[in-house]
C-alpha cells in the first residue's frame, strides 16, 4: 500500500528531487506524508522501495514507522556503493522478488509476499537482507525506544538507583 503511493509520489517529485542533489546518480526517496526521507545512490529508488517492503516483512513491527526500515536499506545502499558484488546481489534479488508476483512484490498481498520470501529463504540475497535487519534495525535507538530497551546506562550511573530490582508483580515467596 505504502509503496504504491510512494511510487506515484516519486514520479511526481523525482525531477525536483534529483535536480536538488549534487551527486550524480543519487535519488531521493520520501514517505508520502513526509515523515521520512532517504537518498539512494546505487540501488535505485524502485529497488529501495521494494527492499523497504521486504525489510518490514522480515521483522514486522506495526508500531514502528518506515523510517527505521528505510535506514537499514539506506545502509545497504551505501555498502553496495563500495561493493559491486553486493550491489549485483541486491539488484538481482529485487528483480527476482518483483518477478515472483505479477503485480510486483510490494503490491502483492502479505500472504503472497511471505510465500515469495519463504521460497527465497536460502538464497544469499535473502540472508544478506535478513542479517542486515537483525544487525542494524535492532541496533537503532529509535527502535530501542519503541520496544522498551534503554540502551547505554553507564553515563546514568547504571541501574543501581534506577530500577535494577524494581519488579513488583512477583508474589512474596
Amino acid at each position: 500500500m505504502f509503496a504504491k503511493l510512494d511510487r506515484r509520489r516519486f514520479l511526481r517529485t523525482s525531477a525536483v528531487a534529483v535536480a536538488g542533489t549534487a551527486v550524480a546518480g543519487s535519488e531521493f526517496l520520501a514517505a508520502p506524508d513526509g515523515a521520512w526521507a532517504m537518498t539512494v545512490t546505487t540501488l535505485g529508488k524502485a529497488a529501495a522501495a521494494t527492499l523497504i517492503r521486504m525489510a518490514r516483512d522480515l521483522f514486522p513491527h506495526d508500531s514502528i514507522g518506515d523510517t527505521a526500515y528505510a535506514k537499514v536499506v539506506e545502509k545497504l545502499d551505501r555498502r553496495a556503493g563500495a561493493d559491486q558484488q553486493l550491489a549485483g546481489l541486491l539488484k538481482d534479488g529485487v528483480t527476482a522478488l518483483d518477478a515472483a508476483a505479477k503485480e510486483g512484490y510490494a503490491a502483492a498481498s502479505e500472504a503472497r509476499r511471505i510465500a515469495i520470501l519463504k521460497s527465497m529463504e536460502t538464497t544469499p540475497f535473502f540472508q544478506t537482507v535478513r542479517v542486515a535487519m537483525a544487525k542494524d534495525f535492532y541496533n537503532d535507538e529509535a527502535v530501542w525506544k519503541a520496544l522498551g530497551y534503554e540502551g547505554s546506562s553507564a553515563e546514568f550511573g547504571g541501574y543501581l538507583h534506577r530500577g535494577f530490582d524494581d519488579i513488583d508483580w512477583l508474589p512474596r515467596i
Binding site: 516483512d57 522480515l58 521483522f59 514486522p60 513491527h61 508500531s63 511471505i114 520470501l117 535478513r130 535487519m133 537483525a134 544487525k135 534495525f137 535492532y138 541496533n139 527502535v143 530501542w144 520496544l147 522498551g148 530497551y149 534503554e150 540502551g151 547505554s152 546506562s153 553507564a154 553515563e155 550511573g157 547504571g158 541501574y159 543501581l160 534506577r162 530500577g163 535494577f164 530490582d165 524494581d166 519488579i167 508483580w169 512477583l170 508474589p171 515467596i173
Partner: protein
C-alpha cells in the same frame, strides 16, 4: 614499564593476556621473574568501553577468520564465528560475566565417576580438588569473589528475582546470587557494581575483575613486565635439542620479529593455543609442538549450553543489572538416573536487544519472531552451563584452504554433540522453562547454543604422556620449557564456568615455574 631486548634469553614469554596469561604474568613478575607478555589485541582502558552490543563486539572480539564444521548448531548459524572470545589486552576477562565457581571433587575424576561412556575420551585429571583447593582460595581472594572471604553477595536484579521465585516454587534449594568476581563493595582499589548491565561489553565501573586493570598494572608496577599489545605470535621456535627458544611475532606495524625466551607459556584460549602449536611444526616436530600424543587440538569442549528466554505478562527489564545475576545449583551433581552423566548449572543471562534479535531464534524471521522480539522488556533469560563430553574428533585443526593475513592456516573448529550432551541439554531446557513457567511465563524459547564463550580441553592435562599434551603443572610432556596456561589444559570441562579454575591453575603454575627456574631445571 620494562623493555627487554629481543635477544634476551632469560625472559619468560607469555602469549595471551587473559585469565591464564594475564594472571601468570603478574604472579611471575611478583616473584622477580622477567616477563614479555605478547597480546594480539589492542590495549583499551575502562573509559574506552561502550555500552553498545555491536560496537563493543567489533572493538573487543577476535574477528580474524575461523571456520567450523560438525553437527552443532553453531556451525550452521554462525559458521565463521565458532567462538565469541576476545582479542584485546585482558583477553576474555574483559568480556566474561564474572561467575567464579570451583569445580566439584568428582569432576576431577570424570572417567572414574562416569565410567566408559561410548564415543567419549574421558580421563581423570592428574590432580584433585584437594590439590587445587589452596589455589582456588588464592584465586578467590585475588579476584574478590562474592560469598568468599567475608565478601557479601551481590543484590539480585529483576531477572534473578524471576528465576529465584520460579526455582523456589519448584523446590530448588541452592539458589543464590552466586560466587561472582564482581565487587559488591569497594575492594582492591576498585569500586562496587553499579548494575550497569553491559558486563559482556567491558565493565565501565571496573567492579568486575579483569586482568586488564588488576593483574596487568600490578605486574607493570614491578618493573618486570614488558607488555607488547597488537603483537600476534605466529610461531614458537626451538633449538637443535628440541627445547623452545623463542617466538616469532608480528608487531603492530606488521614487522616480523623474534623474541628469545627461556620459557614460553601459551595462553591464547583453546582455539588459538592449539593452532599456534600446530602452526609451529618443524622438521623435528612435524606434527606440531608438544604433539607426540596426537592430542594437540583434540577433545575440544565448549560446555553443554543453550538458553531459555521467556516472555511474561508484565515487564522484567532483564538487561538492567549484572548479566549473570544468580544461579541454581541443584542440578549440578552427577545423578545418572536423569539419563546423562555429569550435571549443569542454570544461571541468569541477559542480552541487549540487538543480541536478542540475533540469538533468540537464529535465522528466524516473520511476524511471530518479530512479535516476540517486540516483547523484549517482558523477557527473562536463563543460560545452561553443563559438562560436555570430551570426544577425540571434536577438535581444532588447521584449515589449509583459508589463510590469515600472515599467510597461516586458520583454525577449523569441529564439534559434534554427544548423545550425553543432547540428553543434558533437553533436560536443562525443560527445567529452565519450568522455572520460568512457575514464575508466570506465557511463552518460552529454547535458544540454541551461540558461539562458544567457554572453550576448553584442546591441550589437555594427563598423567600419562600418551593421553594428553601437558602434565599436572601445565608443562608439556614433550618439551619441558613449554607450558600451556589457559583453559585448553582442562582434562574435562566440568559444569562450572572455567575462569576461576584457569586463574587457580595459573597461580599454581607460577609457583612451579619459579621453583623449577630456581633449581635450574628449566
Amino acid at each position: 614499564m620494562a623493555k627487554f631486548d629481543l635477544k634476551d634469553e632469560s625472559v619468560v614469554v607469555v602469549i595471551g593476556s587473559g585469565a591464564g596469561g594475564g594472571t601468570l604474568s603478574n604472579e611471575l613478575c611478583q616473584k622477580g621473574i622477567k616477563v614479555v607478555l605478547l597480546e594480539a589485541g589492542r590495549r583499551y582502558e575502562i573509559e574506552d568501553f561502550v555500552n553498545n552490543d555491536s560496537e563493543a563486539f567489533d572493538m573487543l572480539t577476535w574477528t580474524q577468520p575461523r571456520t567450523s564444521s560438525g553437527s552443532w548448531r553453531v556451525a550452521k548459524d554462525f559458521p565463521g564465528s565458532p567462538a565469541w572470545i576476545c582479542q584485546t589486552v585482558g583477553g576474555t576477562t574483559v568480556h566474561w560475566a564474572g561467575a567464579a565457581l570451583r569445580f566439584q571433587a568428582h569432576e576431577f575424576k570424570a572417567r572414574t565417576t562416569y565410567g566408559d561412556i561410548k564415543g567419549t575420551n574421558l580421563l581423570d585429571w592428574p590432580l584433585s580438588l584437594d590439590d587445587l583447593a589452596p589455589y582456588y582460595a588464592k584465586a578467590e581472594d585475588k579476584m574478590g569473589v562474592t560469598l568468599t572471604n567475608g565478601i557479601p553477595g551481590l543484590p539480585g536484579n529483576n531477572n534473578y528475582k524471576v528465576m529465584e521465585y520460579g526455582a523456589r516454587k519448584l523446590g530448588y534449594q541452592k539458589v543464590s546470587t552466586g560466587h561472582m568476581a564482581i565487587n559488591s563493595q569497594p575492594r582492591d582499589g576498585r569500586g562496587p557494581c553499579q548494575q550497569i548491565g553491559f558486563c559482556f561489553q567491558g565493565c565501565k565501573s571496573g567492579a568486575k575483575w579483569s586482568t586488564l586493570y588488576t593483574e596487568i598494572p600490578k605486574a607493570e608496577a614491578t618493573g618486570r613486565l614488558d607488555l607488547r599489545a597488537e603483537s600476534q605470535v605466529l610461531k614458537i621456535t626451538h633449538d637443535a635439542k628440541g627445547k623452545v627458544s623463542g617466538v616469532v611475532y608480528a608487531d603492530k606495524d606488521g614487522r616480523i620479529l623474534e623474541q628469545k625466551a627461556r620459557i614460553v607459556c601459551v595462553a591464547g584460549n583453546s582455539i588459538e593455543s592449539p593452532r599456534l602449536l600446530l602452526n609451529s611444526d618443524s622438521n623435528k616436530y612435524p606434527d606440531g609442538l608438544a604433539n607426540s600424543s596426537g592430542m594437540v587440538g583434540r577433545n575440544y569442549m565448549r560446555h553443554t549450553t543453550g538458553s531459555v528466554y521467556s516472555i511474561f505478562e508484565k515487564p522484567v527489564h532483564m538487561y538492567r543489572g549484572t548479566v549473570m545475576a544468580g544461579i541454581i545449583e541443584d542440578e549440578v551433581e552427577h545423578r545418572p538416573q536423569r539419563g546423562f552423566a555429569g550435571g549443569y548449572e542454570l544461571e541468569t543471562i541477559a542480552l541487549g536487544l540487538p543480541s536478542v534479535a540475533t540469538f533468540l531464534e537464529p535465522g528466524a524471521w516473520g511476524r511471530e519472531i518479530a512479535t516476540s522480539i517486540g516483547l523484549y522488556s517482558y523477557m527473562a533469560g536463563i543460560w545452561i552451563v553443563g559438562e560436555d563430553m570430551p570426544q577425540a574428533d571434536n577438535r581444532i585443526t588447521l584449515n589449509a584452504a583459508v589463510k590469515d593475513k600472515y599467510g597461516l592456516p586458520v583454525a577449523n573448529v569441529h564439534y559434534d554433540d554427544h548423545p550425553n550432551d543432547v540428553a543434558m541439554r533437553d533436560h536443562a531446557y525443560a527445567r529452565g522453562s519450568a522455572v520460568h513457567k512457575a514464575a508466570g511465563a506465557i511463552k518460552s524459547f529454547h535458544s540454541p547454543p551461540s558461539p562458544s564463550t567457554h572453550n576448553m580441553g584442546t591441550n589437555r592435562m594427563s598423567a600419562d604422556p600418551k593421553d594428553g599434551v601437558v602434565n599436572k603443572w601445565g608443562q608439556t610432556h614433550d618439551i619441558k620449557n613449554l607450558f600451556v596456561s589457559d583453559g585448553s589444559q582442562f582434562t574435562t570441562s566440568a559444569a562450572e564456568n572455567p575462569t576461576l579454575t584457569i586463574v587457580a591453575l595459573a597461580i599454581r603454575q607460577a609457583d612451579y615455574i619459579a621453583e623449577q627456574m630456581g633449581k635450574n631445571q628449566i
